[in-house]
Symmetry: C2
Subunit: 190 residues, 2 copies
């Protein structure tokens, strides 16, 4: 933590605390074991709702969120739903944009770059012949996702682009979406 005096807060990122956190985890790697959780309840038809609040991390249950975050999902009218929320697959668009954006704000702050504006547009292409069971050659999920960043700050275009690239290299959501992970689905019988 000797370096903290030379790294002020920037971009809304508390850089001294960010580096102190890194130092703390270096000294006690088990603090980096996290378990995130959500609870979902079916409402009607394709409409359902998730609760996100507690998680395990830094060696303990987190209790810093005073209220749960609630998210509805549904299918749109053209897919016989009622538009009570986005489709589930659209939340992947939010997740990748949010992960890359959070990361690049941290990385910019650590590198001493002040950001003026960051925005992104995400698209996902999907051929529903897969999930509708109408063509076994078509996959169920997105064939491609694209994220386009607009970024302004007090650095060269090359340095700004390098922030996005480093964020991509360190993104948890990018890793899961591009490499996949193990997903276990069970039915818990009462």
């Amino acid at each position: 933590m000797t370096q903290t005096p030379t790294r002020p807060a920037r971009n809304g990122v508390d850089v001294p605390t960010l580096f102190a956190t890194l130092d703390a985890v270096k000294d006690a790697p088990h603090l980096a074991d996290f378990r995130f959780r959500a609870r979902n309840e079916w409402i009607s038809g394709t409409h359902n709702r998730s609760w996100i609040q507690g998680f395990y991390g830094v060696g303990q249950e987190d209790t810093s969120r005073p209220e749960p975050f609630l998210y509805d999902a549904d299918h749109p009218a053209v897919l016989v739903g009622n538009n009570h929320g986005p489709t589930p697959i659209e939340f992947l668009l939010h997740a990748i944009a949010a992960c890359l954006t959070s990361g690049l704000a941290n990385i910019a702050a650590a590198r001493g770059v002040t950001l003026h504006r960051v925005a992104s547009t995400v698209e996902g292409d999907i051929d529903l012949l897969g999930i509708l069971g109408l063509d076994p050659e078509v996959r169920n999920g997105y064939s491609q996702m694209r994220v386009g960043f607009e970024i302004e700050g007090d650095a060269s275009p090359e340095e700004l682009a390098a922030l996005v690239e480093q964020s991509r290299r360190r993104s948890a959501v990018y890793d899961v979406l591009t490499n996949g992970t193990d997903v276990v689905v069970d039915v818990i019988t009462p």
Copy 2:
């Protein structure tokens, strides 16, 4: 659409329209080409916000959502954020639970199974040594995600479990999370 009179609405699913939609797509497969979109703007630090509203599908721009859906993301206090929303990676938990739940409600309705209750709990394990850049052997994303369903309805435990299994086989989110997809990240220079 000859079968519609024998398949009433069930579980809040308009089964006749669901089958009519399948028939329409069988006759014109290009209707199944969808493109979903989100827009994200950085706010401060790790806090950012996505807008989800329009998409392309069924051969046209969808205009059925009167207002955009807005979602914030942030890091929690222990990760030097301000809890303005869940972490981006937690939205993957919502996405998988929502996708499997929407699918099984449709599949149950199509099979004539009346559901009484569906709930699920999702967990995701992640070792942050990856994204913190402290151990090159540790991946950035979840090492494992687990979804546990509780399901009650007017069918045998085996039939209810088979609904979950069929939903998993047809889930867009499950496909992306387990198999990964192509994610292109670009910086758009003004």
